[in-house]
């Protein structure tokens, strides 16, 4: 049992770490090209700012500890989004649009799925300051682009709208605890239990809540929803949003699920999840969370998405490892220049420390730098 890691925690060995890092660079470069500025919030901060505006599930998922300096409770972030919302609302104070992105480890007390890691490498992009659907369209398109770059093109981008749930729950006059239970039942499309749960809710809302569990599929469910859901202004607005998205994103494999609420309870509008082929769970989650900024003193329209880079890297084909060039430890005056030239050209050059003959192939070398006819030449590695 010595030196085993905790459950759902793992190392990334060279091959995997290389994949993770090259993917991280590719995706952050893509974010940069789209105008998303990188931020790096801390790994831990005071608990109340980490979990503000979020539901019980995020609190349960957060590792907590006591700060020896202040005596206050601190948490290790389980989700970066609230931190970035804090930065936007409280520190940047921009009046217009802010586009931010991030990549860093988060910790989960409990794995989110059976095979998930408890230390996802969370990568995400957030767009603040624009309430219109143009922002939702931009981040959904950015997500599709990110998945394409990661070589796991989304087979399905499933879109929902939390506004429908909030409108119906408010109409039913639910207290927050019951609303959370209702959220969970809808999330599981647990129709038999839902039917029991809403037995005492007014007829029109009950029928609508039950209908939410069946309203999924292509854009035609939006018409069906208009027929089956009550004529509330919030319902009409949500369905209009979804129709506009369906029209704007017609070239992507978009589908709809009006009972899918996604995320950590802080979402407030359009939400979405991306699925790759043969993945037993969503690869990326995102959506609108306009109310989180309010908790930090400045309500700001907000939308974005995040994903676990480890999960994506797992799906990347193994790239053949780049072989290194073995250079002698000492040579003439030209050796150092030659090594520097090769390294600048992107080659890996290692020096042959004495006493390790015969192990260089295992160390990843496949070529060597040799003095031949008065100049340095790269040749296949011999005698290893």
């Amino acid at each position: 049992m010595r030196w085993v890691l905790p459950d759902h925690i793992q190392d990334a060995l060279p091959a995997e770490a290389e994949k993770l890092e090259s993917l991280r660079r590719t995706l952050l470069d893509a974010f940069r090209a789209h105008g998303y500025q990188l931020v790096a919030p801390p790994l831990l901060e005071f608990l109340d700012s980490l979990t503000t505006g979020a539901g019980q599930d995020l609190k349960l998922r957060t590792f907590t500890l006591v700060d020896q300096l202040s005596g206050r409770s601190m948490g290790v972030r389980a989700d970066t989004t609230p931190q970035v919302a804090r930065i936007d609302a409280h520190l940047l104070n921009r009046s217009g649009v802010a586009r931010l992105c991030y990549c860093g480890s988060v910790l989960h007390t409990l794995p989110s799925t059976l095979t998930a890691t408890r230390e996802p490498l969370q990568l995400g992009a957030e767009l603040y300051g624009h309430a219109g659907l143009e922002a939702d369209i931009e981040v959904i398109r950015l997500l599709a682009e990110v998945l394409r770059l990661a070589q796991v093109p989304a087979s399905r981008i499933d879109i929902g709208h939390v506004g429908l749930f909030h409108a119906l729950a408010a109409r039913a006059g639910m207290v927050p605890e019951r609303e959370e239970a209702l959220f969970d039942l809808l999330q599981a499309k647990d129709v038999p239990s839902l039917r029991e749960f809403v037995a005492d809710v007014p007829e029109d809302v009950r029928a609508a809540l039950l209908a939410l569990t069946e309203l999924y599929g292509d854009a035609t469910v939006l018409d069906e929803a208009a027929r089956r859901l009550p004529q509330l202004p919030e319902v009409g607005a949500a369905l209009a949003d979804l129709r506009a998205l369906a029209a704007a994103l017609g070239d992507l494999p978009v589908s709809f699920d009006l009972g899918d609420l996604r995320g950590y309870h802080y979402h407030s509008g359009v939400v979405f999840a991306a699925y790759g082929s043969a993945s037993p769970a969503a690869l990326a989650l995102g959506g609108r969370y306009d109310r989180v900024g309010q908790a930090f003193g400045r309500g700001r329209p907000a939308t974005g998405f995040s994903l676990d880079l480890r999960e994506l890297a797992l799906r990347l084909p193994d790239a053949p490892a780049a072989g290194a060039i073995l250079a002698p430890l000492q040579g003439d005056g030209e050796l150092a220049g030659e090594v520097a030239r090769l390294r600048a050209a992107g080659e890996i050059v290692v020096s042959a420390l004495p006493g390790h003959e015969g192990t260089w192939r295992e160390a990843g070398c496949d070529r060597q730098l040799i003095r031949r006819d008065g100049c340095w030449a790269v040749e296949a590695l011999q005698g290893e």
């Binding site: 799925t113 087979s155 599981a188 599929g217 082929s277 037993p280």
Partner: protein, 213 residues
């Protein structure tokens, strides 16, 4: 190219599922009672069945090893249901989850506030939730079978178990003192499968829903 896999257990659930599958136009090519195959084909090339232990059904579906599954509510409550949709009560394999004690044991007195009893069960989560809701302290003993034996040999004061006819309880001189909940089997669906293979899964769901009594 795409196909769907349904996980279920053999025995009562399999027998009572057959008419529902038939309504969806699915007929197994083998009978798991006589065949030793764990993967059973059907008359439809794009549908296959996998035969697993009842308690393993939610796990197979959660991992996506099966797209659909049929599992008792008892099993789903113990599993927790993470990653699953549970859209349909199939109304089959019906029974009840109950508290039972040896005949003559004063359960009413033992379950007064402040009382503490030992309970043997396979259904730890459900039992814990039930007694916690009553404000009762219990010591739970996890057993994997023959629950009825535990009170008879002094391992526990009471048991929490599934009862369908009550025959086993009577034969062992136990009686049912509390109904926890009615149990029946449900159709569960992997969440990603429903998104990715909706064209295949939805007609099966609809046909089964139409055939449920």
């Amino acid at each position: 190219m795409s196909s769907i896999t349904l996980a279920l257990s053999k025995g009562r659930i399999f027998e009572e599922t057959l008419p529902l599958l038939a309504a969806a136009g699915i007929e197994p090519t083998d009978n798991p009672e006589s065949s030793r195959k764990l993967i059973i084909g059907t008359n439809r090339p794009d549908v296959r069945l996998v035969i697993v232990r009842a308690t393993d059904v939610p796990t197979y579906v959660q991992y996506g090893a099966a797209d659909l599954g049929i599992a008792g509510k008892d099993v789903l409550l113990e599993h927790g249901g993470a990653g699953l949709y549970q859209p349909l009560d199939l109304n089959i394999a019906r029974c009840r989850l109950c508290v039972a004690v040896p005949r003559g044991f004063d359960y009413a007195a033992a379950s007064k506030p402040g009382g503490r009893i030992r309970v043997a069960t396979k259904y730890i989560n459900s039992a814990k939730a039930h007694f916690a809701a009553k404000g009762m302290h219990v010591d739970l003993i996890k057993l994997y079978g023959s629950m009825e034996l535990a009170p008879l040999v002094g391992l526990a004061d009471a048991i929490v178990d599934l009862v369908s006819t009550g025959g086993t309880l009577r034969a062992n001189n136990l009686e049912e003192v509390e109904d926890i909940m009615p149990i029946s089997s449900r159709l569960v669906v992997n969440q990603a499968s429903l998104k990715l293979k909706r064209e295949l899964i939805q007609p099966v769901l609809d046909a089964i829903a139409g055939a449920v009594k």
